[in-house]
């Protein structure tokens, strides 16, 4: 490319290589306010100890929040224990599986 050999200090006209991000905004539901009497779904993605962490959270919730109900998704829907959904379609499918339990809120635990 000839321009690379030109003298120092010239003015370059260049194209920005970054490109733009154009995604449809997605809105989320507000959380339920109080947890008393609510149905809480716990989601583990299969990473080591995530189930232990959520089991402890379940114990504390049942002990301290009046009338709370817990669904451990990895027990009720073992097929949803995936660290990587692999596609948006699979992610939507997982969300539909969780929605079928009609939880008031879903708590997921990730990380290594």
């Amino acid at each position: 490319m000839g321009r690379a050999r030109k003298k120092a200090g010239e003015t370059w006209e260049l194209l920005n290589p970054e490109g733009i991000v154009s995604v449809e905004p997605m809105s989320l539901n507000p959380h339920p306010g109080e947890l008393e009497g609510k149905k809480i779904l716990l989601r583990w993605n299969g990473k080591h100890n995530g189930d232990l962490f959520l089991n402890r959270i379940a114990e504390r919730l049942l002990d301290q929040i009046e009338g709370v109900r817990i669904i451990k998704a990895w027990e009720k829907a073992p097929d949803t224990v995936v660290a990587i959904s692999g596609s948006q379609e699979r992610s939507f499918s997982l969300a539909e599986t969780y929605a079928a339990f009609k939880p008031d809120i879903v708590i997921g635990a990730y990380g290594d």
């Binding site: 290589p17 989320l28 959904s85």
Partner: protein, 429 residues
């Protein structure tokens, strides 16, 4: 809401933004959670519990509108300075990998665009994890930066299209803690036509098409896709394949008689030009200089490769549903075929020999049921194969002289994706 460890909050936030969510409820706990005693996990849960209750109950999303701009034409701007200054500016902006780039001038980009009949404003796809919009023009910008010639564009575009198919799982491979890279295998007449190296040392340096196309792909992944280390690209160590993707042509001239080239195994005609892409872990090399029979050679394979090479078994059972690519060196291929073994014989023997006992995986692995679903009743002594069937293995004759073969294992849920090339690229076939 989501509980995430401190090392992964950046990736989690980036992921949400890339899906159009401007605000999300996270609770952050100190890293790590995995591979620590249960008592420590319990303490981390207890410490986080008040925040979890507060966030689960009372959080409300802040409204936020994500900006939307035009993807084409790409923004033009002026810069004063030397090529050295320009490279420094690009690196500081996050527009390079740390290696020098050619300046993407309008003239250079226009020259690259002569290599494709596609409209420059056409959208190839959204590149994860950032979900940057990749137009044909933007691909040409990166091809120019990488030093590609115009005639490389059909291969580059076909590879990018393949990588953006959902089954290629680019997002997962780009953000994992594992060491992954795009493996790109080119077959057919295009190999000779544009001079893609397909024999000695073909996946390494000194081959202009391989080097510049592989560089362009990684520039696009890093800059348009935003897969930057240390976040959202969480690779623990990473590798030089983050600079230049693995790319080589199959050594079709060294195919043993009766063996099918890779693209024919993938369902294409031998006369087709095809690009196949798969996100893989670093290859495992088989350095067998000694075997004189296929049986001995397979014994060697059974010791250098294991299903655990790519997690597999009950820890990542989806790996049993994937495809694995065995880059058979030409001399190993002649050893195998010279004894009368067909390609199918080799795949079957490989599949039967490369196994690990179920007891090799942890007892608490999350997908034991998945193993039973695929293999039937099991015991700790059951020898678990890499895949459910031998037919899930592919062979490609890779490289030149020498007694070396290479085993490419996929990142979980990353399947190989192939694209046939025409003069335009594969877009309008």
């Amino acid at each position: 809401m989501t509980v995430v460890t401190s090392e992964f909050i950046g990736l989690a936030q980036d992921t949400m933004r890339s899906q159009g969510v401007s605000d999300y409820s996270f609770v952050v706990v100190p890293h790590p959670l995995g591979m620590i005693p249960g008592g420590e996990v319990r303490k981390k849960a207890d410490d986080a519990f008040p925040d979890i209750v507060k966030m689960a109950g009372g959080w409300e999303p802040k409204s936020g509108i994500l900006a939307s701009e035009k993807a084409y034409p790409a923004e033009r701007f002026s810069f004063d300075g030397t090529v050295h200054d320009l490279n420094r500016f690009f690196f500081d902006k996050g527009w390079s990998l740390g290696l020098p780039v050619e300046p993407p001038t309008p003239e250079a980009v226009a020259r690259i665009l002569t290599g494709t009949l596609l409209e420059p404003g056409g959208v190839i796809g959204q590149v994860p994890p950032r979900m940057g919009t990749l137009t044909v023009e933007l691909a040409a910008v990166h091809a120019a930066m990488a030093g590609c010639k115009p005639e490389y564009m059909p291969v580059l575009i076909a590879a990018l299209e393949a990588m953006l198919e959902p089954q290629a799982n680019w997002r997962g491979a780009a953000t994992t803690t594992g060491t992954t890279a795009a493996l790109i295998i080119v077959n057919g007449p295009i190999v000779g036509k544009i001079g893609i190296a397909a024999a000695q040392g073909s996946a390494g340096a000194d081959h202009h098409p391989n080097a510049s196309i592989g560089y362009a792909i990684n520039l696009i992944a890093d800059i348009v896709g935003g897969a930057k280390s240390p976040s959202p690209d969480k690779s623990t160590l990473a590798a030089p394949s983050d600079f230049v993707a693995w790319i080589f042509g199959e050594n079709e001239e060294a195919l043993p008689r009766g063996w099918e080239p890779f693209h024919v195994q993938r369902g294409f005609a031998q006369s087709d030009s095809v690009v196949t892409v798969m996100a893989t872990y670093p290859p495992v090399e088989n350095i067998d200089h000694w075997s004189v029979t296929p049986e001995e050679h397979l014994r060697w394979w059974s010791r250098v490769v294991s299903p655990l090479t790519s997690v597999g078994g009950p820890c990542e059972v989806c790996q049993m549903d994937g495809n694995y690519i065995i880059g058979v060196g030409p001399e190993h291929a002649q050893l195998i075929a010279g004894s009368g073994w067909s390609q199918a014989d080799f795949k079957k023997a490989f599949w039967e020999r490369v196994r690990a006992p179920l007891s090799a995986w942890p007892r608490g692995a999350p997908h034991m049921e998945g193993v039973v679903q695929r293999l039937g009743p099991v015991s700790p002594e059951t020898l678990v194969p890499i895949t459910v069937k031998a037919e899930q293995l592919f062979t490609v004759i890779a490289g030149g002289a020498g007694k070396h073969s290479h085993y490419f294992a996929p990142f979980p849920r990353c399947l190989p994706v192939s694209r046939k090339i025409n003069a335009s690229g594969s877009r309008f076939l």
